[in-house]
Assembly symmetry: D2
Homo-oligomer: 341 residues x 4
C-alpha cells in the first residue's frame, strides 16, 4: 500500500480525493491537512463521510512527513515551495493547482501574476494529461495535474488537431461547467437562488485556462494555436460539457475524422468515443473518471463540432490526479461505474 496524503483536503478537489482514495485498493490515505479546518475532522466539514472517514486535519508538514505521495489542492502560488520540499525528500508531489501547468513563465506572469521561484524544479516537472502525454509522466516526481476545462477541451478536439484534420485558426471552445467548479467558497454567483434557473457565461474570452488549453493544442499541432474560450456556469452540481468548433481542412471526410479519433483513443480506458448519432451528456459520466466524446459534422459550413463531457471534480481534478498517481506508481483504483441517473 502506498501512503498518500492530501494538502488542502477540505476544498472540493481535496474532499473528492478523500472520497476516491478511500476506495483505492493500493493506496492508504494516511494524513490530510487544511488551513481553515486544522484540528477538525473532515467529516465535520463534509457529513457525507461521517463514520467512514473521521480523519482529523493536520498541517502540511505533517502530511509531507507521513506520506510518500502528496496531493496538493491549493490556491495558485502556494504549491511551489511545497513541491520543492517534496522533491528534496524524494516524494511524489501531485499538484492540482496551477503553479506547474504553464511551461512558459511569461504566460504564468500574465495570467496568474506570479513568478517561478525555482526554474530547475519547473523543468523537471511534467504537465500530466495522460491521454496526450502519458509517456512523459512515468518516473516524474513533480506532477502538474491539468485543470478541468483544460482537460475537457483537448479531449474533444485534440485528436483532430494532432492529426491535422482541422485548421488551427478559428477554433472556438464553448464550455459549460457545473457549480462545483466554482469551489466551496461562498459567492453571489453560486448562491442557490442566483444560479438555480439561471445560466450565463463568465470571464468571456479571458479565463485563465486559455493559455493552458493553447499549450496542449500547440504541442499536438506542433505549432502555435490560439483559441476563443468562453466558459458558462450550469445549474447542476457536476460536469463540464465542452462544445468545440473547428474549421475542417478542405476535403476531410467524416470517416477520416472518426477513424482518427478511434485510433487516438483506442487504448484509452477512460475516454469513450460515442457511436455516431449519440451525443455526449454530463449525465452519463458524473461521479466517474470517464470522458465521453461525440463527433458531429456541419458539412454546410465545413465545421467539425466535437463535444466532450467529463466530471469536473473527477476527470477534471481528483480522478485525474489519481490516474496520474497510478501512472507514476503503476497502480489502479478508478473503476467507478457512472450511475445511470
Amino acid at each position: 500500500m502506498i501512503k498518500v496524503g492530501i494538502i488542502g483536503a477540505t476544498g472540493y478537489a481535496g474532499a473528492e480525493l478523500v472520497r476516491l482514495l478511500m476506495s483505492h485498493p493500493q493506496a492508504q490515505l494516511t494524513a490530510i491537512s487544511s488551513v481553515s479546518f486544522e484540528g477538525k475532522a473532515i467529516s465535520q466539514v463534509y457529513p457525507s463521510y461521517y463514520n467512514l472517514n473521521d480523519m482529523v486535519c493536520e498541517n502540511a508538514d505533517q502530511v509531507v512527513d507521513k506520506c510518500q505521495v502528496i496531493f496538493a489542492a491549493l490556491p495558485h502560488g502556494l504549491s511551489q515551495e511545497l513541491a520543492k520540499v517534496c522533491f528534496d525528500k524524494d516524494k511524489i508531489f501531485i499538484d492540482l493547482g496551477a503553479d506547474f501547468r504553464l511551461e512558459n513563465e511569461d504566460d504564468y506572469k500574465e495570467w496568474y501574476g506570479g513568478e517561478y521561484t525555482d526554474k530547475e524544479l519547473h523543468k523537471n516537472s511534467v504537465y500530466a494529461l495522460p491521454e496526450f502525454f502519458r509517456d512523459n509522466i512515468k518516473g516524474k516526481k513533480t506532477i502538474a495535474n491539468p485543470g478541468c476545462y483544460t482537460t475537457g477541451v483537448p479531449l474533444a478536439i485534440g485528436p483532430a488537431v494532432a492529426k491535422g484534420l482541422v485548421e488551427t485558426k478559428g477554433i472556438i471552445a464553448d464550455c459549460k461547467s457545473g457549480a462545483t467548479g466554482a469551489g466551496r467558497g461562498l459567492s453571489q454567483n453560486t448562491h442557490f437562488t442566483d444560479l438555480n434557473e439561471g445560466f450565463h457565461p463568465y470571464k468571456v474570452a479571458c479565463h485563465r485556462h486559455t493559455p493552458e488549453i493553447e499549450q496542449t493544442l500547440s504541442h499536438l499541432a506542433n505549432k502555435p494555436v490560439k483559441i476563443t474560450f468562453v466558459p458558462h456556469l450550469l445549474p447542476v452540481n457536476r460536469g463540464i460539457l465542452s462544445t468545440v468548433y473547428a474549421p475542417l481542412k478542405e476535403g476531410v471526410t467524416e470517416e477520416q475524422v472518426r477513424q482518427a479519433y478511434e485510433e487516438f483513443y483506442n487504448d484509452e480506458y477512460f475516454v469513450r468515443l460515442l457511436p455516431k448519432g449519440q451525443v455526449a451528456d454530463i449525465h452519463n459520466i458524473k461521479y466517474s473518471n470517464f470522458g465521453d466524446v461525440s463527433l458531429h459534422m456541419d458539412n454546410r459550413t465545413g465545421t467539425l463540432v466535437a463535444v466532450s463531457a467529463i466530471d469536473n471534480m473527477v476527470k477534471g481534478a481528483a480522478g485525474q490526479a489519481i490516474q496520474n498517481m497510478n501512472i507514476v506508481c503503476e497502480k489502479t483504483g478508478l473503476e467507478i461505474i457512472p450511475p445511470a441517473f
Copy 2:
C-alpha cells in the same frame, strides 16, 4: 377591446398566450381551442389558472368565428389552411408555428417536408421579428411569428451583421434552451431524472431553425449567410442563452461595435443592451418579454462574442406574438417586470 382567440391553447405556447392575454389592457381573450382537450377547461390542464381562467376549449372554427385576432400555436403543416380562412374573413392571423416563416419554399420542403398550398398567401404574409422588420409588419394580416432560437441568435449578432462589422462566414451560434422549449409532450429527454443534473447538445448542426436564422441574417447582411448552429438542452424551465461567435473584420474596435448596437437598439424597448462588464443571464429576463444582450471582444483571436438571453416562451414565442399584435393593432400590454429571483 380587441377580441382575440387562441387555436392550440393547451400547448405551452398557447397556454403562455392565455397567461399574457389575461393581463392585456386592450385585448379580451374570447375563445380558445384544443384538439386534445376539447370540452375541458384550460385550468384543468394548467391548475395555475384555476379560478382565474376556466374557459373551456372549443374547436378552431369557433375561435375563428368569435375573434378578430387569431393566434395559432400548432405543429407545422396545420396553419396554412387556417391562415387562408382568416385571410378571407379579413381577420388577423398570427402563426406561432413554422408554416409562414421561410420565404423560400425549397427551404421549407428541405427542412420541414411540406409544400406551400397557397403561394399568394405566403407572399402576403410577413416574417415578424419586430426589432429587425417592424416596418414590414404594420398592416399585414398573416403574421409569421419567429421561433425561439431564431429570435435569440439575431438579437445577439444581428446588429454586427447589419452594420458590416463581422465576417459573414464562420459565424457560430451555440445556444442553450430551457426545457419548456421541448413542449408539454412527454419524452425521455425531458423526463426529470434524465434532464436534471444533465446537459447535452441535440440536433447538432441540423436543427430546423437553421435556415430561418440564416434568412434573417442574410437580409441584414444583404447577402447569403450560412452559420453553424448547435442547440443544447438546459436543466431549467425557461430561457435561451445564445452565445454567438463571429470573426471581426480587420480593424474593427470595441467602441465601434458597442456604438453600432446602441444605435440599433436605441428605440427598442424590449432589448436591453447591457453595460460593458455585464453578461446576459437568463435569470434576469425570465417570465418577461425582454431580451438582454452583452458584448465581449476576444482581441487575441479577433472574435466578437455576442450573447443574448430571452425567455423562450415569452420573447421567443407568446410575448413576441402579442408584441406583433400590438404592432399590427397598435396596442400594448407587455410591461411585465422580470422577477429578481
Copy 3:
C-alpha cells in the same frame, strides 16, 4: 396615486416589493433605501430591473420624508423606532419584520431576545393576516405583516380550527420552503452545491415562527393552541408547501370539513380551495399572491391532512404587504396570473 417607499429595498422582500409596486395602478414607488447599497441603483443589485427601475437607494429618513406609505423589510429589532417616527408623522407603516407580530411581549423576549420600546405603539398596531383578521386592519397605521410560514400554516388548518372540527392538541405542521426564504445573504446552507440535490429539516421544533402561528390559531380556536412545527429547505427558488396534520373530532365528516372551508374562503380572492382529488403544489402559485389549499381525510387514523401552497416572497411577504396596503388604503394591484410552468 399613493406615494410609497421601501426601507431595506435590496433584501429579497424589499426587492420583491419593488417588482410588485412597479405594476401597481394606484401606487407610485417614490423612494427606496438600503444600508448596504446606499448610493447604488437597485438595478445594480438586481439586473432584472435594469432600464425598468434604476432608482438609487437613499437612506431611511429620506424614504419616510417623501412617502405616505412606508414598507420596512429589516432584520428584527430595527423597525420599532421607525414605526414610531411614522406614527408620529401620521404615515402608514407596514412592517415585514417581526417586531410587531407577537402580541405577548414575553414571547418576543423568549424567541427574539428583545423588548417592546413603546408599548402603546404595540397596542395600536395590528397583526395583518387578511384572510383571518381583515376587519382589524382597516384604519390602522402600524401594520405587522405576517411571516411566510405563519401565513401558510393558518391558511391550511385555520378554518378547521376556527370551526372546531379538529382537536387543538396534536397538530403537526411539516413545512417545506424554497431557498428565497433564506434571503440574499450567503450561507453554506444556500450554496448551490449544498442545497441542489439536497433536502433537510432545520430548526426542528424551535423555529421563531412557532409562537406566531400559535397566536393565530389560538385566536381562531379561542383557546391556547400549541403545535409541532418543522420547516425544511427545498431546492427550488420559491414557494412554501405546508402539510398540516390535525386529529379530527369524533364524527366529523369530509363533507363538513369541505363545507367549512368553502364558507371560510368563499369571499377570499387570493385563496383557492382546490376541488377534491387535487393537491396543492407550489408550482401553481409561484410569482403570484394566491394561496392554494387542498384537503385530505385519513379515515384510517381520524386525521385531517390540510395542505397549502404559497409563494413565500409574494403571499408570504411582499404581496401580502401590498394586500394590506390595499386594505388600509382601499387600493388594488395584485392581479398577477401565476405562470403555468
Copy 4:
C-alpha cells in the same frame, strides 16, 4: 464468485442493481432480462454504462437458468410464478417488487388487488429489512426486499417503537422522495417542467406502502400500529427524507431516546445515527447504501421528531437487495462512499 442475474434490468431498480453488482467483489453479473428491451444492450438504454457493461437483455428463463441468485425488479403480480420456479430449482430469489412483502393476504388484496397463488411459498418467504429482521433472513430462499418508504420510515421511528418510548397511536410519517422513485416510465408528474420548481404531496394517506410500514412497526411494537403516511415528490433525482412524528410517552427524556437508538443501531454499519445538533440530509447519503438518522425533541408538545435520509434507489431498493444477498450468502460489496457534493 456467485453467479447473479437480474430480471427486469432496464427499470431504475434493475439498472441500479447492474451498477452496484459490477463493483461487487464476490458476485458476477451473469445474465439480465427485460421485456421492453430484449435483444438490446443495457448500455443502449443507459449510456452511462457504455463500454463498461454492454450485456444484452435476454428473457427471464435464461436468467434463471444461468444464475444462482436471481433479483427481480418487476411490477407487482409478476414475481410469484418466478419465485416458485426459483424455489423449485433451489435458487435464491430476491424480489424487489411487492408480491411477498405483506404477510396478510387480505392486505395484499386490499392494496394491490391480487391473490397469493402459492400460500406455502409465502410462508417460506421472509420480509428482509436487515436492521430489524436480520436473524430471519439467513438461510431463506425467497426474499421480499422492502420498498423505499417502507425502509425510510422504520429506520427513523423503529427503535422508539420497539423500545416502547412513544405512543403507537398518532404517528405521522411525512416523506419526501426524489424523482427516481417514480421510475423510468414517462408521466406528466415527472415531466421536467412540471416537477422542476414544483413540490406537492401525492396519494395522500392512501399510498400502498402504508400497510407495509404498519406491518414492520406492529412487529416492533408487538401490537397493531396504524400511521398517517403522506409522500411528496421532490425535485431531485435521488433520496427520501422521512420526517416522522410520534407522541412521547409521559416522562421519556431525550437521553433515553438517544440511548435506545444507539443500542439499536450500534452494530448496524449502514445506519449512521447523527450526533445531537445535526440533521439528516439526503445530500449526504446519495448513491450509497447508508441511512442517516437524526433525533429531535419537541418538549413543548411532547413529540419525538425522528428523521431519516436514504437513497431510494440504493438503501431503498437495489443496495438493500444486495445487502440481503450478502446476508443470505455471507458476502459483501457495498462499501460505497457517498460523495460530498
